[in-house]
Symmetry: C4
């Protein structure tokens, strides 16, 4: 633990919480979804995670107050129909180096998650296809084949060997480390082009999580942002079509 400092502001007592990770990644789908879910559930921060593996930098807000690069741990209690407790791993950064990412996940697993007796891990991410999806799907990867039936019922799609490149960063490592500690873990990935921050994919992913947790959230804020981006994309497309016609004009 030489490299990671975890500062607890409180020590919540939770009953076999599930862990939901949503750090930055492809299309920021995982981050948007986890941040929105944590805010909707009024989750409370209980720890900050500092590390030499985050960028050596502070950022300023509009008040000229600085914020250091770190990850945060939040919790929510008695969520959904089944009264589930949840720990959230949120933040603006992942480790800046490959072994930095490993160390961060390992220290959190050993020093926090295992000690708090987590029962299941859901890591959230995006599956970048390079294509725009009208109705983005949610893909899954699991540590045990037996988890698939449950997740398929909640709307998760399992496509043999996809994503072919595997799962990078915290979303992958927490699965592997969960498995090594006999904790069921799944990565839920919203289909996304990967070219921009994808709120539409986040809504689809959130719908799956609602089904898993037995929740029904007000997603209108996300839907508004999603529509705005749809409109923007439509305009870009229209412009491109016009350009193409003009280009053809030169030839004909």
């Amino acid at each position: 633990m030489a490299n990671t400092t975890i500062k607890f502001s409180s020590k919540p007592v939770l009953k076999n919480p599930i862990l939901i990770e949503g750090l930055p990644g492809v299309g920021n789908v995982g981050k948007i979804t986890a941040d929105f879910l944590a805010a909707s559930l009024k989750a409370e921060k209980f720890a900050s995670v500092y590390s030499e593996h985050f960028p050596p930098q502070v950022m300023l807000d509009d008040e000229c107050v600085i914020h250091m690069a770190y990850n945060d741990l939040y919790y929510a209690q008695n969520v959904g129909k089944e009264g589930i407790d949840i720990i959230f791993l949120l933040g603006e950064y992942q480790g800046t180096t490959p072994n930095g990412q490993y160390i961060l996940c390992k220290d959190l697993m050993d020093e926090v998650f295992l000690k708090m007796d987590i029962s299941t891990i859901y890591t959230l991410g995006g599956y970048g296809t390079g294509l725009m999806a009208e109705n983005p799907r949610t893909f899954g990867a699991v540590t045990k084949s037996s988890m698939k039936t449950f997740l398929e019922k909640k709307g998760v799609l399992f496509s043999p060997g996809e994503p072919g490149a595997g799962i990078l960063g915290a979303s992958g490592l927490l699965l592997g480390m969960g498995d090594a500690n006999n904790i069921n873990a799944a990565c839920l990935m919203g289909e996304t082009s990967g070219y921009f921050i994808d709120h539409k994919s986040a809504i689809a992913l959130l719908t799956v999580l609602e089904a898993i947790l037995g929740l029904d959230l007000d997603k209108s804020d996300l839907e508004l942002k999603s529509h705005q981006i749809d409109e923007l994309t439509a305009k870009v497309k229209e412009y491109e079509v016009t350009q193409k016609k003009e280009d053809l004009g030169y030839i004909g």
Copy 2:
């Protein structure tokens, strides 16, 4: 502390000292200011900081005597109207890698600054704008919004979200680590083009520090250097104007 070696030549007993950091950075504004202030106050060295994260190198002076790459800690007692004690963090280098910079700051914070009960942190730096400023201003960033009124009275300007790129290196990290330990901390940044060593910006920054500490220093040495650079810059400009005219001559 495996990576950092702190060699104490004395162990001064100080009453809640403030910490002033002035390591190399944009326009070297922070370093010039801190070095000058420490020299003016006849601050004494009490520790040298060695680290694997500095360049693996020694430099030679005119006597062929070698000097290793390290940082130094100085102190001054009973400074200004209010009799403040000060610790200075000075040196020729910052860590050569991102996590090296973090480790250096963290080891100093944990092993020296917290143990010596520092009360406030001022990190000094330059805010590189890419433009020459006739009357360079001093910008601020703080760990608590409540610090701003005091600093504004001393001449510090707070501009929403500036600098947009945040604050890198020791000047940023010590703020974040101060905040994590409930110590008030501010970064004071002299406006500078960032293109050369900027004594004029250092004078402006020093004037703010004089106001904060209740001091009135003889700054004539700095002013002399500032004038020399002003003259040099004027000549370069004049030359450029002449060149432009000649260039136009070719066209007309």
Copy 3:
């Protein structure tokens, strides 16, 4: 051992086992040979090796079940005429950085291999010559000159100073660390072009290992794959010859 985590699923009691390493490398000759030998001997996994020095990533199989990047330790007992016990070091990855590779080998040596009283080390690899070999040979390198007579009788060729570039990665480091602990160690290298996965070279290397261990294995699976690749190579050659003739046609 801060960087390496070794998870034991069982603690086999072995009598002065030999260690056989076959991690990825030139032509994957060492990996193919060690994997095939371990499978033929029905070796059992007894430990998984996790490390920050493997890629921070999990891979998916056809069932969408994730697999983390790690090395595995297997064992087989009472092998061959002389009833030798064997430990296998197998896996999909080596460390991603030079010092990561060193740390992995050192931690395994200190925490597992020395404690299990290994008697001899055979590291398996490929010797990339850039040329296709009709009958690939098996080259050797040893920690003690006295080991050569025994190995030459088993079919190993010692060619002064070859390979000129030395031996990189685990296959080299385990030799050096074996030597530092007074354990006899040899690297056995199948001659290979290095341009593709070379099953033919693996068969030659396996034949040497059979002689060393007093074994006679069914190698028909490897031979089938080797023939398939031979056929593919023949077709590529034929195509190239045809192309050349056509090219000449243009000139003539």
Copy 4:
């Protein structure tokens, strides 16, 4: 000491030995000189230094026996008129990274050199000038100005601020670490073009060391190699002159 392993084959009892370092560097002047001096004095190896910071690799000799990348410690007793004891730090490699070099030197200093009560440090190197020197000089750098008179009498030249780039690697770091532990230390640098292995510069440096240690060694082997290189260089020059004349022929 997590990163460095020092294997002692014996523990010689020496009386305030001096340390002579000669690892690879500019023109290999330091290494040639130290290797030659150690061999001439029939110095004995007493420890091998292993580290993750050396290349992860073993080399083969003509007997196909492997040699790992490490540094060695040798000693010689009762040397010269004054009966001085000497420790030699020799080897084929320096650390592959900046902080690896620092860690190696620091671990050796703390775990070996300070414990063996070294009295003085001489690090040997080359001073690359880019020019061929008919009679290469030996430049010096010291930790204390008071050391200069003694060394000047032995033939060392002190030129203000040279080398301007400072001293890199073990030759520099051991000086800095010696100084931090109040041990007198000097770097002796043979003048060299830096373009090839420079035996002539090594002879000059060795002559200075003979004067310091009160020795008179048979340097005929070094002189032979130096002459061979001189002849080679002369031929290259001659060829260049001929080429130039021919080139002029084309113009005239």
